[in-house]
Symmetry: C2
Subunit: 113 residues, 2 copies
DNA sequence: CAAAAATACCTTGACAGGTAAGGTATCTCG
DNA sequence: CGAGATACCTTACCTGTCAAGGTATTTTTG
């Protein structure tokens, strides 16, 4: 029961920002968290993930730095900025609006889980 | 409080099919219904609308015919097919799944309207 | 120990859906 | 008659996603 690609399009950035609210993290781990949270039903493709990081950093919503940890492959950590927190709040509001609208437009689904 | 473009992307076809479940209708009117249902917050752009009709018809999910009504500009009516009903049910299921996933991924929004 | 698998990063090219901008034609109302 | 609503449609562009490919290190396994 996987989800078709772009029914989530436009929410990717908010999803990533949500993860970073809990603290700095690196790409691979962030994606694993997302997979966990959805019970394996949804994960970002790597290309999508790193494209999003680049976009977010260019917009000043996150910053990044190389972790100088010992074991394992090198990791690039990401941190959310103050502007990122605002963008997250905005994205969250948008999701809530979207939910209301689509519920209204695709018949009354509110009752179903 | 309008909704940013492609947070609804991928649901357009389902939205249109939902309208056609209530009976045959033509483009302009369908879009007005959608605007009504969302309190003016969201309407399909004309290009999006007619592109979607074409796509849906090519996929056999709808059929179309010219209305031979007297007054007003000529209207092309659309009707949902049996395959269209199945696609609608599938699209609706997808929306319900999407909703669950995004609620899980963008923090706990379930409490908010 | 060597091979396989996992961890971890990144880029390129193509694709699909949405949209701005433009166009046509008819009808209604002042 | 002119403005605005009704009603349809196309083209060229933009943006986010993804398949496919690449690099490098560490851990597991046979």
């Amino acid at each position: 029961m996987s989800i078709s690609a772009d029914t989530l399009r436009g929410h990717t950035d908010t999803i990533i920002l949500t993860q970073l609210l809990r603290g700095d993290n690196y790409g691979y781990e962030i994606n694993k968290k997302i997979l966990e949270l959805t019970g394996g039903a949804y994960g970002l493709k790597e290309a999508t993930l790193y494209t999003a990081f680049k976009r977010l950093e260019q917009q000043g919503l996150i910053t990044s730095y190389w972790g100088d940890d010992g074991p394992g492959a090198r990791r690039r950590y990401y941190a959310i900025t103050e502007a990122g927190r605002k963008a997250w709040a905005e994205g969250r509001r948008e999701w809530i609006n979207t939910r209301v609208l689509l519920d209204a437009l695709i018949c009354n689904c509110e009752k179903e889980a």
